[in-house]
Amino acid sequence: MEKMPKWADILLVPLISLILAAFFSAIVILAIGESPVAALKIMVSGALGSTYAWGYTLYYATNFIFTGLAVAIAFHARMFNIGGEGQAMLGGLGVALVCLYIPWPHWSLALIGAVAGAALFGAAWAAIPAFLQAKRGSHIVITTIMFNFIAAALLNYLLIGVLKPAGSMEPATTKFPAAVHLPTLHDILGLVGIPFSRAAPANVAFLVAIAACIAVWALIWRTRLGYQIRAFGHSEPAAKYAGINPTKIIMIAMMISGALAGMMAVNNVMGEAERLVLNAVEGAGFIGIAVALMGRSHPLGVFLAAILFGFLYQGGAELGLATKIPRELIVVIQALVILFTGALDNMVRAPVERVFMAMRRPPKPETKLKAAE
C-alpha cells in the first residue's frame, strides 16, 4: 500500500521542504539585520519584474535545466554524479573548439555542431569515472569530485597556454566568429511581435533545454533503455537477474548525464560569453544537485526547480546590488534546499506520511451506525 497519494509525494513534500528552506533563509536575513520581506520584494522585481529580469532568470534557468537533468538521469540509475561542474567545463571546451576551428556558414548548423561537441566532451569526462565505477568499483562520488578538480586544472592550463591568443593577458579564448552568434529571446520573440529585452542573455539554448527535458522524459519512461536504467536503479541484483548488463547501464547513464551537463556550455559559453573564460560554469554543476532533488528527478520537476533557482540566482544578484546582503545568500538558500529535500527528506516526509495514514483509518463503528440510521 502506498503511504500517501502521489500528488503529496511530488508536490506537498518538496513544497514543505521549500517552505522550511525559506523560513531558515528568512532567519539568516533577520540575523544580519535586514528585512526578509523587503529582500523578497527586491528579488521578485529584480528577477521577474521586467523582460530584462526574465531574460536573466531564464538564462540561469537554462544552465540549471541541463545540470539538473544530468544529476536526475544519474539518480535514476542510482548514481550520484557530483561531477556536473567538471563535465560542464569540458563541455565548454568542446563548444569553444567547435566554434573556433570550424568555419560555420550559419548559426543553426553551428548550434548542432556545438551541441554535439559539448555533449561529446561532457560524456567523455563522465566516462572515465563511470568506467572505474563499473569495472573497478571505485566510488563514483569520489572520482567525480576528483575529476572536477582535474578539469579545473586542465582548463586553467589550456586557457593560460595554447588557447589564449598571442599578446593577450587574459586567460580566455578569442571571441567566437559572428557567424556562430546565437539568436537571443529578443530576436526569437521579435519574430512573433512580442517585445523582449535586447540586453538580456537568454537565448535559443533555452529551447534546446526544453527539448532536452522532453527527450529525457521520453528516454526514461518510453524506451527500453530507460526501463533498464530505472530497473537498475531500483535493484541491481534484480536487474542483473533480468539480464540487464550493469556495466552497460552505468556507462550509458553516466555518459548521458555527462553529455547533458556538458550541453550547458551551449548556453553560457556560446550563447552568452561567446568565448571560453576561466570558471565559466560558476557552480551551476552543483546547483544541478539541488534542482534534481527538488524536482524529484522528473524532467518537469527539474524544469520548474530550474526556473525557481534561476529566480533565486538573478534575484540574489539584484539583492547584492540593492542591499547590504551579499549574493552568497543564494548559496545558503541552495544549501538549505539540498539539506531539506535531500538529506533530511525522511524528517520532512515521515510526519506527512503519518497524517495521510491517520486520515485513511476506517471510520469508527458509532459513526458507521449513525450513517446506517
Binding site: I32, L339, A343, M347
Partner: protein, 324 residues
C-alpha cells in the same frame, strides 16, 4: 643542486601545508571508520576557519577563537549526524549541503559583522597562534646539518602543528588499543554485530561524527589563525577538505598512512608555489596546474585499484536500520 637551506624551507612549508590536511584527514578517518561518509570536511573547516578568526579578532584571544571554531564545526557535525544517523538520509547529499551552507554563511555573516567583503580583520599578537621556538633551537643553529634541521624544520611551528602531529599516534592508539576504538571500527564494518552485542550503534556513530567535528574545527582554526597571514578570507579552504578526503583514501583509512599521504600532498602544495626550484632540481619545467591536479590524479589511480586497492569500511554510507 639545491642547498640544504632551500630544501629545509620547502619541507618546512610542506609541514605547514600538511597540518590542516592531516587534521581534516584524521577527522574523516574517525567518521568513515564508523561508517559515516563525510564529504563535508571542507565545509566544517571553512566554518571553523571563519568563526575562529572572527571571535579571535573580536576578543583578541586566539584560544577563545579556537573553541568558537570547534563549536561551529561541531554544529555542522550535528546537522550531519541528524541527517545521516537519526533520519537515515543520504550521507553524501548531507555533506554537499554542509559544504554549501558553510560557503554561503561564512561570507554572509562576515560581510554583516566586519563589512570587508567577506573577510575578517588581520589577526596579530594574542589574537593568533604564533610560532614556538623550541628549546636550544637558537643555540644549536650553528651545528652543521642537525642544527639547521632542528631550527628550520622542527622548531618554529605553531602549537597546532605539533598538536596535529601528536594526533596521529593518539588516533592510532584510540582506534587499535582501546575498547572504544574496536567498537568504532566494528560499527563501520558490521553495525548489526555491534548492536547484537548490546552497544549503541547510534551512540558510537554520533561520537565518531563529534570527534570529526572537533578535528575539523582545529583544522579550520589552523588555516585562519596560525598561517603567516592570519585572518579569514572568503572560501579560504580552497578544496583542502577534498584533498584531505583524497589523502584518506590514499592512506586506505589508516592513521600513520594518513600522516604520510598528507605530508606528500602538503609537499606537492609547497613545491607548486616554487616552480623555479622544480626546474632547477629535475631540469624540466613542470606545469603548476599539473602539480595542482596531482593529488586528485593519484587518488583516482589508487581508487581504480591499479596500485594497491583502497577498500572502504564495509558499512560506509549505509544508514543502520535496526530491524528489516
Amino acid at each position: 643542486m639545491m642547498d640544504l637551506l632551500t630544501i629545509l624551507q620547502i619541507l618546512d612549508s610542506s609541514v605547514r601545508s600538511a597540518t590542516p590536511l592531516l587534521l581534516a584527514c584524521l577527522a574523516g578517518l574517525f567518521s568513515e571508520r564508523a561508517g559515516i561518509f563525510d564529504i563535508g570536511l571542507e565545509g566544517k573547516m571553512l566554518a571553523a576557519a571563519f568563526l575562529s578568526a572572527a571571535i579571535a579578532a573580536v576578543t583578541g584571544n586566539v584560544w577563545i577563537g579556537l573553541f568558537a571554531g570547534i563549536g561551529a564545526s561541531l554544529a555542522l557535525s550535528a546537522i550531519h549526524g541528524l541527517a545521516s544517523i537519526t533520519f537515515r538520509g543520504n550521507q553524501l547529499i548531507s555533506g554537499v549541503a554542509i559544504n554549501f551552507l558553510a560557503a554561503g554563511l561564512t561570507v554572509v555573516v562576515a560581510q554583516s559583522w566586519f563589512g570587508q567583503g567577506g573577510r575578517t580583520p588581520q589577526l596579530s599578537g594574542g589574537a593568533r597562534f604564533n610560532p614556538i621556538t623550541l628549546p636550544f633551537a637558537e643555540n644549536l643553529r650553528e651545528v652543521p646539518v642537525i642544527g639547521p634541521i632542528y631550527y628550520e624544520l622542527i622548531s618554529g611551528h605553531t602549537i597546532l602543528v605539533y598538536l596535529a602531529m601528536l594526533a596521529v599516534p593518539l588516533t592510532w592508539w584510540i582506534l587499535y588499543r582501546t575498547r572504544f576504538g574496536l567498537r568504532l571500527r566494528a560499527v563501520g564494518e558490521n553495525p548489526a554485530a555491534v548492536d547484537t552485542a548490546g552497544v549503541s550503534v547510534v551512540g558510537l556513530r554520533f561520537a565518531a561524527v563529534g570527534i570529526c567535528g572537533i578535528l575539523c574545527g582545529i583544522a579550520g582554526a589552523q588555516l585562519a589563525t596560525a598561517e603567516p597571514a592570519a585572518g579569514f578570507v572568503k572560501d579560504m579552504t580552497a578544496g583542502r577538505g577534498y584533498i584531505a578526503l583524497a589523502a584518506l583514501i590514499f592512506a586506505k583509512w589508516r592513521p600513520w598512512y594518513a600522516l604520510y599521504s598528507c605530508l606528500l600532498f602538503g609537499f606537492l602544495q609547497a613545491i607548486a608555489l616554487r616552480p623555479d626550484l622544480i626546474e632547477k632540481a629535475i631540469g624540466v619545467r613542470v606545469q603548476v596546474q599539473f602539480l595542482d591536479a596531482l593529488p586528485y590524479i593519484l587518488t583516482v589511480i589508487i581508487l581504480a585499484g591499479f596500485v594497491g586497492k583502497a577498500i572502504p569500511p564495509r558499512a560506509g554510507g549505509e544508514p543502520y536500520v535496526k530491524e528489516r
